[in-house]
């Protein structure tokens, strides 16, 4: 049928870049935290050296992240309303508490870690894991509550967000460890084995992430018309280059190849792969947030 819109209004973007950055930073933070607990809470000693880096990163990122929220909201001086007028049904309300509890926990956890108090570190690490999962998972819920936005409104969204958080967290950790070892450690020597190990972990997480993205896409593509429109948008529409090329090919598949093919496994390739992943996941956040509200609802 020949159909054309003769008049419609412009709709403001609800979220946009600031929120994408916020989601990105919380994701990095959660990923870093979870990694840091591998050694201290789960006794994977090979990861011991990244514990401290992880907790510092997690804390710093989570202190920065809310500033993007403050820039985003129209009435930043009313932010205290969030703690007074509670609506327990709203993911943002969950988030307000998580954004307070999680950094506090990070600081305590880090404090004991640096003090060398293994037991307490372990306990706060364990407390921190659900917090870290929540602090990023809730952002997935924020989007999933967007009922009419097909790209957001899926139960897979919180998990997808977590997976990509861990992916980006590992990548960031790899880079930070290298920088730390190379420039700030006493020996100025990079712990190659750790990095390669992390690289392997990263590769597997990428596979998991790709699996989730793939599942989401397949369902989108055969679901109701709005979902199909959304699938169309990221597969062949305006966001297709970002999604296919930048997020997935450069940001996931290429790093995976670099990390997984034994012949390539080298320090430089791991570095390149990590950088690619960090960019790739940023675009993932961008595509989900901005692409998700790209199609007008009416």
């Amino acid at each position: 049928m020949d159909t054309q819109i003769l008049y419609n209004i412009f709709h403001q973007d609800a979220f946009g870049l600031n929120i994408a950055i916020y989601f990105y930073l919380t994701g990095l933070s959660a990923g870093s935290f979870i990694l840091s607990t591998l050694a201290y809470s789960f006794g994977m000693d090979q990861y011991k050296s990244i514990g401290k880096v992880g907790v510092v990163l997690a804390t710093v990122l989570l202190v920065i992240a809310p500033f993007f929220l403050l820039i985003h909201i129209g009435m930043p001086h009313r932010a205290w309303h969030l703690f007074v007028y509670l609506n327990m049904a709203s993911p943002i309300t969950w988030g307000s508490f998580l954004l307070v509890l999680y950094p506090i926990n990070c600081i305590i956890y880090g404090y004991f870690m640096f003090k060398g108090h293994i037991k307490l570190t372990r306990i706060f690490g364990l407390i921190g894991i659900p917090l870290a999962i929540s602090v990023h998972g809730y952002t997935g819920f924020i989007l999933a509550f967007g009922k009419a936005r097909a790209l957001w409104n899926t139960a897979i969204m919180p998990i997808l967000f977590l997976a990509s958080a861990i992916v980006s967290g590992i990548a960031l950790m790899i880079l930070v460890c290298i920088i730390k070892d190379r420039f700030f450690s006493k020996e100025k020597k990079i712990n190659q084995e750790l990095i390669l190990n992390l690289g392997k972990l990263l590769a597997w997480m990428i596979v998991f992430d790709l699996f989730l993205v793939g599942s989401d896409l397949i369902v989108l593509a055969i679901s109701h018309s709005d979902a199909q429109a959304a699938a169309h948008l990221i597969l062949s529409g305006k966001f297709s280059i970002l999604f296919l090329l930048v997020e997935n090919l450069l940001g996931k598949i290429l790093p995976f190849i670099l990390l997984a093919v034994p012949g390539f496994r080298r320090l430089t390739t791991v570095i390149i792969a990590s950088i690619l992943v960090i960019f790739g996941i940023f675009f993932m956040r961008y595509i989900v947030v901005v692409g998700g509200e790209f199609l007008p609802l009416l």
Binding site: D2, Q4, L6, Y7, F10
Partner: protein, 769 residues
């Protein structure tokens, strides 16, 4: 033609000239107690707002509105729930009156040109200087007996301006609104002695619409649209529209027939033939009430076969036949007429042909048909000497420009010929030429395109700032008198600026601003006449516009019996219930044709070597049209009217006029939606974005008028700017621009019989760029 020729604006505005038929007591409308309450509340304080009933003058429909004020500030205009025409509704243009009054870019002081014409340098002057300049010029003309060199061009009639010009004995009047409808008005006058009729559309069952768009614009817009909606949806009336494009009305019609431009009358005449031949015509009406018998009519119509009509108009013969039968059998029926058919080279005969359809079914003073307009106040002409005006000569711009008439002073009030005239560029050149127009004065609310080339620009009051009495179209056949009263006061700056209240006011309410030195044109004329003295003062024996209005009020006997002036002020209008609504059983009391008959055959036309009968004349230049040429039609959007050019709320919705072009044609020419094309006619060319659409005849292209302003204000020009109104900073369509003015490429032609302009039939070429 009848001697009592009168413009339709006339009956609505100064009106009251007309003697209506004998009156019988017949009263259904009550006044006073059971009136619906008039309230609006402040959104912030929740207190009721101050309400002042008045009349909307954004278009000729004359709706009763109520202006609501928060303190001194006009915040809302809503329909007057008691007004018999609009019943509490209002339209977008009426609402935009708020923008007009509160416009930060309004012209507030009299200005004099510095430098040469059109330089755009101005100096503020006093009203005193204005008066003395004009007084000198007019006295000079009076002394030399050459007042005919004073040209008055107005876009809306004002009774005091009328009296003023009549007292000077002027001959040059450019009555803009009626010029546009001239073909329509002269055609009707030639048949029934009245330039227009009222459509009782709310009670019609079959409605044929030829080139009107009552769902977006019409002289009786809001009230008529309201009645048509009810007829369609609640009473199941059938609406059929002939239009070259899908107008809003066509979109809501049961069927839209995309007709080849300029061919409506052959369709109407073919329908007439069907009706006559099938014996469906109202014989007794034709015999008793018209001057042409059925048998002779049959002969005349025999040429207009269905086949010929189909060939000319692209409307299928079977459809025409079937519509004719429906029209003549599923009564009450009505055929309505719009600018689409009257503003053409063959407009006069088009109107007569479609009117004929109505006469064939006896559609005069019949329920669901056409009625003579009723005017309030019985025997006004004799009873009210205030209305005796000198006859005046109307000239259109073309004649003025082409004749060797000498002009001394050109006064344009509420009129913007340098923008609204067809071929407006040449109008501008003419007005700018100091040899042809030695002194140009513009009185307007804004610096219009015309004001830009003027010598003196005077700030005019808006319709919401002054007094007036006018007749509204009597849509339910009851005469209605509307009162216009100031809802916002005109404050003189000096007075206000000095007052501490203003400083405080400014702090509390940024839009609280003095209205400067704007004046009602009536008061301007009164003061000028006092300075000129002599017969002009005698003709204008009023203190001010309010005095005038109250004197007119007291001169209407019926009105004075029913209301005192304060009642009128609190109601905002008056319905004269002493007159008969309509008379179903007989047509004997039809006012203008009491003695006469409907002249289907016109001797006067015959004498002037025109066809005396309704006729189809094909438009020669359309016949010669080549493949890449199109007929350009212009039309009015439902959002633009005379006072809305700089209105933020209407401009926001519609600020660009794209050129409509048929999709198949566009595909053939390789033009895509949104492409820019060059559209050229013998008088000029424009570049414009196209709207590729399935809603227009392949022969036509269409452009809305009212866009592409180069003056008036920043909003009209789609430019963001800072002012006390923060909205002006939020203007978001500045990148898209404000469209084009079709008048730059419309040829200045007139229908030789009717004398009206041809705004819908210019042939244009289109090239992709």
């Amino acid at each position: 033609m009848s001697k009592r020729k009168m413009s339709r604006r006339k009956f609505m505005k100064t009106g009251l000239v007309w003697v209506t038929g004998t009156a019988a007591g017949f009263s259904t409308i009550q006044s006073g107690t059971d009136y619906k309450k008039i309230t609006a509340v402040s959104r912030t304080s929740l207190k009721p707002l101050r309400a002042i009933p008045t009349t909307c003058e954004q278009c000729p429909a004359g709706c009763g509105v109520i202006a609501y004020l928060d303190g001194e500030r006009l915040v809302q205009i809503l329909g007057n729930p008691n007004h018999p025409n609009n019943h509490g509704s209002i339209c977008a243009k009426g609402l935009a009156g708020i923008n007009l009054v509160n416009d930060p870019e309004r012209l507030l002081f009299p200005m004099k040109r510095l430098g040469s014409r059109g330089d755009g340098q101005w100096k503020r002057i006093t009203w005193d200087e204005v008066y003395s300049t004009l007084e000198k010029r007019i006295n000079e003309m009076l002394q030399k007996n050459r007042t005919s060199e004073f040209v008055v061009d107005f876009g809306y009639e004002d009774p005091l301006l009328d009296r003023f010009t009549a007292a000077l004995g002027l001959t040059h009047i450019i009555d803009r609104p009626t010029l546009k409808n001239l073909n329509h008005d002269t055609a009707f006058t030639s048949m029934i002695g009245s330039p227009s009729l009222i459509e009782d559309i709310g009670r019609s069952r079959t409605i044929l619409n030829f080139g009107a768009n009552p769902y977006a614009n019409h002289d009786h817009f809001l009230g008529l649209a309201q009645r048509l909606v009810l007829a369609q949806v609640e009473k199941g009336a059938r609406l059929v529209t002939f239009d070259v494009r899908m107008s809003e009305t066509a979109a809501k019609s049961d069927t839209w027939y995309p007709i080849k431009a300029g061919t409506d009358s052959i369709v109407a005449l073919a329908m007439a033939k069907v009706i006559v031949e099938k014996g469906l015509a109202d014989n007794s009406f034709l015999n008793q009430k018209t001057n042409f018998s059925l048998s002779k009519l049959k002969d005349h119509l025999s040429r207009f076969t269905l086949k010929a009509a189909e060939k000319e108009s692209n409307i299928k013969a079977a459809d025409i036949e079937h519509l004719a039968v429906e029209f003549a059998t599923l009564k009450p029926s009505i055929a309505i007429i719009g600018g689409g058919i009257s503003d053409q080279k063959n407009g006069f005969q088009n109107v007569r042909s479609i009117a004929l359809l109505n006469w064939l079914i006896g559609n005069l003073e019949k329920e669901g048909g056409l009625f003579f307009p009723r005017l309030p106040g019985k025997n006004q002409q004799t009873a009210n000497p205030l209305y005796k005006l000198r006859p005046k000569q109307r000239k259109n711009f073309k004649e003025l420009e082409e004749s060797s008439t000498r002009i001394n002073t050109y006064f344009a009030y509420l009129s913007n010929p340098a923008y609204s005239n067809p071929d407006c560029e040449s109008t501008k050149t003419f007005l700018k030429d100091e040899k042809k127009v030695p002194f140009l004065v513009v009185m307007d609310t804004h610096f219009t395109e015309t004001a830009m080339v003027a010598d003196m620009v005077l700030p005019a009051a808006t319709y919401l700032e002054g007094w007036g009495l006018c007749c509204a179209p009597p849509l339910d056949m009851f005469p209605i008198l509307n009162l216009r009263q100031p809802v916002v006061s005109l404050l003189s700056t000096a007075e206000v600026l000095r007052s501490p209240a203003f400083e405080v006011g400014k702090l509390l309410e940024p839009s609280f601003q003095p209205k400067g030195e704007a004046k009602e044109v009536g008061n301007f004329c009164l003061e000028l006449s006092r300075r000129i003295g002599g017969k002009t003062v005698k003709a204008l024996p009023f203190k001010d516009t309010k005095d005038y209005v109250s004197k007119v009020f007291s001169s209407i006997p019926n009105l004075k019996k029913q209301k005192d002036f304060n009642n009128l002020k609190s109601d905002g209008f008056w319905v004269d219930t002493s007159l008969k609504k309509y008379n179903q059983s007989s047509t004997s009391s039809i006012p203008p044709i009491q003695a006469q008959k409907v002249e289907i055959y016109s001797n006067k036309l015959k004498q002037n070597n025109h066809s005396p009968l309704p006729e189809y004349q094909s438009i020669a230049k359309h016949e010669k049209k080549k493949g890449d040429e199109f007929i350009l039609t212009t039309f009015k959007s439902n959002l633009s009217a005379r006072g809305t050019a700089n209105s933020k709320w209407t401009q926001e919705i519609l600020h660009e006029n794209r050129l409509w072009i048929n999709k198949d044609v566009a595909n053939r020419l390789g033009i895509k939606n949104g492409n820019r094309v060059r559209i050229s006619s013998p008088v000029g060319s424009l570049t414009v974005r196209v709207l590729v659409t399935n809603r227009i005849h392949p022969n036509s292209v269409a452009l809305a008028e009212g866009f592409g302003h180069t003056a008036v204000g920043n909003i009209a020009k789609a430019k963001r700017f800072k002012s006390y109104d923060r909205d002006t900073n939020l203007l978001w369509w500045d990148k898209k621009g404000n469209g084009v003015n079709p008048n730059e490429i419309i040829e200045r032609k007139i229908d030789p019989i009717g004398g009206g302009p041809c705004l819908k039939d210019t042939v244009v070429r289109i090239e992709k760029i």
